[in-house]
């Protein structure tokens, strides 16, 4: 297939996944910000939201005050922000339109329908409740797009490139949350008595839609080191780094087999997965959570470039 087509497919998925991630971060932050200070509301959660989606610097160029309304406007609706939900859906739709014949009718309708629907939302006059409904809608768009890809695409290189976009973006998103909030996730040995951070931990889980999953997996109350374990190493958890890499390795292998050629991407992805498989959360804490996540983000970006060099240009 054309490299440009593969590139477009990859980025359509990445942008849709990113839109959903931003929606989840906004949703969880809104919830956290309504808590009384005694329950851990510390007042900087909107700045944290900006940091988590990597939009803090761009935000400061447009706004002086960090508050709910401004951050929501900037992250959800701003056309100046290339990573706002609006921009993500518009760019995804533009990419999809350019490769209209490489995606199925169902996928096109999901993304084109979202694009048309998006025009109806007017950020200025939105109440909290309306914003909430809007964020739910964004999640449903991502579900519809993802589901239509899963259910209607041929299992060929188009499908694999589109899946790679999802999982590279997902791994990046989960790692960003960890990068911003690593200081909240302490090893068992450093456990302090306070439960002040409880709502911070549940916010993290909400950001990856894993609050219920946590209880099913660990059958325990929230423990920060288990939250870290769930997001990094647990392969049952679809947004964990390990699970994302399991998928990345698989789809890169499918490509390598179909094309009869392995390359840098295949080797790099396997070595990242091996590292995630051969470690425990205690060892991660021993070497330092922050350093571990920093290294992961660098490696994930490296893999993104390797995929681009090998297939997309």
């Amino acid at each position: 297939m054309l490299s440009r087509t593969a590139d477009n497919l990859y980025w359509v998925s990445r942008y849709v996944e990113r839109a959903e991630f931003i929606a989840r971060v906004l949703d969880a932050t809104q919830r956290l910000s309504t808590l009384p200070a005694a329950y851990g509301g510390v007042g900087n959660e909107w700045r944290t939201a900006l940091l988590t989606v990597g939009a803090s610097e761009a935000y400061d160029e447009s706004f002086t005050e960090v508050n709910e309304r401004n951050v929501t406007t900037f992250l959800a609706f701003s056309s100046d922000n290339r990573s706002s939900i609006r921009s993500c859906i518009e760019i995804a739709r533009q990419n999809a339109r350019a490769v209209r014949t490489a995606i199925t009718a169902e996928m096109w309708e999901a993304i084109n329908g979202a694009y048309l629907e998006l025009r109806k939302y007017d950020s200025v006059s939105m109440s909290r409740e309306q914003t909430g409904r809007f964020l739910e809608w964004v999640k449903s768009v991502s579900l519809a797009f993802d589901g239509s890809a899963y259910r209607s695409m041929l299992r060929s290189d188009s499908y694999w490139f589109s899946r790679l976009g999802v999982y590279i973006e997902r791994a990046d998103n989960t790692a960003r949350i960890l990068d911003v909030k690593y200081h909240l996730l302490l090893p068992e040995s450093e456990r302090v008595g306070s439960s002040l951070d409880y709502f911070q931990w549940s916010t993290i889980l909400r950001e990856v839609s894993a609050l219920t999953a946590y209880h099913w997996v660990y059958r325990e109350s929230l423990k920060p080191w288990l939250v870290a374990d769930l997001l990094i190493l647990n392969r049952q958890m679809p947004r964990s780094l390990a699970s994302s890499y399991e998928n990345i390795v698989r789809f890169l292998d499918d490509l390598g087999q179909r094309y009869g050629r392995q390359g840098v991407s295949q080797r790099l992805s396997r070595s990242i997965l091996t590292r995630l498989e051969n470690t425990t959360i205690n060892e991660v804490f021993k070497t330092g959570l922050h350093e571990f996540i920093d290294n992961f983000i660098v490696d994930n970006n490296k893999l993104g470039s390797a995929i681009t060099d090998q297939y997309l240009v």
């Binding site: 297939m1 339109r97 309708e109």
Partner: protein
Amino acid sequence: MASAFDEMNGTGGSVREAYEGLKRWLDTVPADHIALRRSQAELFFRRIGITFAVYGDAEATERLIPFDIIPRVITKPEWQKLEKGLVQRVTALNAFLADVYGPRECLKAGVIPEDLVYRNPGFRPEMAGRKVPHDIYVHIAGIDIVRVDQDDFYVLEDNARTPSGVSYMLENREVMMRLFPELFADHRVAPVENYPDSLLATLRSVAPNSASRDPVCVLLTPGQFNSAFYEHSFLADKLGIELVEGSDLFVRDDIVYMRTTQGPKRVDVIYRRIDDDFLDPLAFRPDSILGVPGLMSAYQSGNVTLANAVGTGVADDKAVYTYMPEIIRFFTGEEPILKNVPTWRCREKEALSYVMDHLPELVVKEVSGSGGYGMLVGPHASRQQIEEFRRKLKQAPDGFIAQPTLALSTCPTFVASGVAPRHVDLRPFVLSGSDKVRIVPGGLTRVALKEGSLVVNSSQGGGTKDTWVLDA
């Protein structure tokens, strides 16, 4: 202007035989059934995203072309005559181009004035003395035809560069079959769905001799902001070939490759929907970012086929059009089966003075204009517009031709007030391969939705209809 020939009612009151079934249906079908079907048709078109862009219209970058659900009917004998005429005309067009860029016999014989060829903006000196694969220049032609009475069809214009609209021909039929299956049960309508197969067979037949037995064909588009992008992606999909942009292709050692996820892949035939000017920044406009550097050199070396060939614009010029009857006689030795609209060439002194005296009755067209832009429709023009054209004609008579205002035939069409006659034209698509000429029966019928209007172009408020060629 004489009253127009109506394709359903003729000139008198009695319904023509071909339309009897349709007339019965229109008279008996409940109005709300029709209203429902019309809204379903609109929904269908919007959902699948058949849109076009109107240049200079910032508000609506993607719009639907209005679709009218009453089909236009052509009888089998009428079509057979049209088909013969089209084959003859396109064969002559190809022979003319091969001659203009080759031995130039027709110029030596004085069939057409030399300056009309050499000073024509569509003439490409780069092509002179070069052979194109299989001597075919116009692989895909769209010939615009109008009807004026029971017997007479005229050719209004030859589109020999990158004619568009065929996706509407195909989608219109698809929608009609879905919405009105009962009509198709009552009429034997010749199918058009094999057009993509015919096009692919045509493209493969003209691959260079150096190509493998399984030549690689691609469709080259200017990209998604082009007004006809929908059609480009639609056709690529139906043909099962890659839809490429200039940046997807590159040239090495005069061979064209496309960039794929498995490395470079050689390309043999390019169905290009980009104008000559933008094909190759090294050969033509250096500021073009749509094209492929080196493409022209690969083409001249015979390593790739461009469909249509470079330089076909010289044949669809409105001034050259006026010489088509002579061109057909010269190259085929036959009388033209399809007539030209009588035309005054304003470059000729007597013609010019006639045109000047009769501006309010005539249609005046710019020789190099297209899409209904830059023309004067005398009977509908204001005095000011007429005076403006008078000035233009005085300044540069060579740039214009004039034609009588034809009483274009009308077809029954849904409008706000019900069913009313509206003017139509017809664009059949003619495919020329190295093996044969292929035409699917029918073509695209365009209809001027405004009462009395003669301008059918989609950019100027025209719509489309399904076109039925009856097979019995």
